[in-house]
């Protein structure tokens, strides 16, 4: 059985997100049989260094960062419903004031000397991951007049095959900027967009310490085939 993607994936060209106009490929993508490409083993990412302390973004400096401490945790499954074990998860985000350490970011919000905003971990034998961090702030960007990104955490995952590679963003429930964001709204169907919004979860929450958010991730599985468009 092959996985149907419907309209849950964004198109390459989405003019409301201006940067796609010069960067989306315009020629038809070449479709290869899945066994020539999609089912091939994906990168061995073992060269990317992962230390256990990399999963706690609040313990990477002398003091704790400012902001609302949170735990973000979930399970990585493939589209056949099986846990994806021991795969690399990389995250990056703005600080609580909405500013990235990356020097490309020139937003006039303060840097936090105790926050880099980058983390890594491997999923466990059940496909689970867990990060401790602070809730990122919203920030302005130049896509259009008065454009603001909703709070989000960037995620990068590998999975077992060339088709399972995923770079995406996790959003927070109830964020009023979500309906205004051309990046999230590039996903045509509501169910697809909802898949990128975490849920507040009191079982992940650490009482008297940090709110918990659950966000499960589904990577394309062994039945994946090339997408349309």
């Amino acid at each position: 059985m092959s996985v149907s993607h419907g309209d849950s994936e964004p198109p390459y060209l989405h003019p409301d997100y201006r940067a796609t106009v010069r960067r989306a490929p315009r020629r038809e993508l070449v479709r290869l049989p899945a066994e020539w490409f999609h089912h091939l083993p994906g990168p061995a990412f073992g060269r990317v260094p992962v230390r256990s302390e990399d999963a706690d973004l609040t313990r990477q400096h002398e003091r704790e960062p400012l902001g609302e401490r949170i735990v973000v945790s979930g399970q990585v499954l493939d589209s056949d419903g099986r846990p994806v074990r021991h795969t690399l998860v990389e995250v990056w985000q703005a600080n609580a004031a909405g500013r990235y350490v990356d020097p490309v970011d020139d937003h006039a919000a303060p840097l936090d000397p105790n926050f880099t905003g980058a983390g890594r971990c491997l999923t466990d034998a059940g496909g689970r991951y867990r990060f401790v961090t602070v809730k990122p702030g919203a920030y302005p960007w130049r896509n259009h007049e008065n454009a603001w990104r909703p709070a989000h955490i960037h995620f990068s995952l590998f999975g077992p095959s060339l088709a399972s590679r995923l770079v995406t963003q996790m959003y927070f429930p109830g964020d009023p900027l979500i309906p205004l964001d051309p990046i999230l709204q590039s996903i045509p169907d509501e169910h697809g967009r909802d898949l990128l919004v975490a849920a507040l979860d009191l079982t992940i929450t650490e009482p008297q310490w940090a709110l918990g958010y659950r966000w499960d991730i589904t990577l394309r599985g062994r039945n994946s085939t090339p997408r349309e468009g």
Partner: protein
């Protein structure tokens, strides 16, 4: 649970991945006598360099990652994957993945080697590509390095494969 869970949708890598994804030695996946240096430039539809791209290269058990610089330039050091490192009648090649601000999904392409003319001619993937576009998948010898530019749009738009 069960089959047909909808995969989590993709979103752009954005411009701010600099402290997270690049890692020490990331572009250099191989050393030794057989090492090949690949240099290229990532270009947008206006022919302008893309200074905030991230490329990954995978093949023959080598994995490398390089962010583009202000000129859109990237480089890798690799070895040519040995014959038989992938199934089927395919010439030696490396898988290349492109991430960038403005790419809501990543791009997938391949880099073939210019000194493998006979094998390239038989390659089953190159043979399904429009002959007029095949050259975009084959690196060019440029002195001691291989040159592999990636054009996201335009007359010489690189061939990308449906994910």
């Amino acid at each position: 649970m069960g089959e047909d869970q909808v995969p989590t949708p993709s979103q752009t890598v954005g411009p701010f991945f600099g402290y997270a994804l690049p890692f020490e030695g990331g572009p250099d996946s191989a050393g030794g006598a057989e090492v090949i240096r690949i240099e290229g430039q990532l270009l947008d539809g206006a022919g302008e360099p893309v200074p905030d791209g991230l490329l990954e290269l995978w093949g023959g058990q080598q994995f490398a990652r390089c962010r583009t610089d202000a000129e859109g330039a990237f480089h890798f050091t690799v070895t040519k994957p040995p014959p038989g490192s992938e199934p089927g009648d395919e010439a030696p090649h490396l898988h290349v993945t492109v991430f960038a601000r403005g790419l809501l999904r990543h791009l997938a392409t391949r880099m073939y080697f210019p000194d493998e003319e006979a094998a390239n001619g038989r390659d089953r993937v190159l043979n399904v590509v429009d002959p007029a576009r095949r050259h975009t998948l084959i690196a060019q010898s440029d002195g001691a390095v291989l040159r592999f530019d990636i054009r996201m749009q335009g007359d010489s738009e690189t061939v990308f494969f449906a994910l």
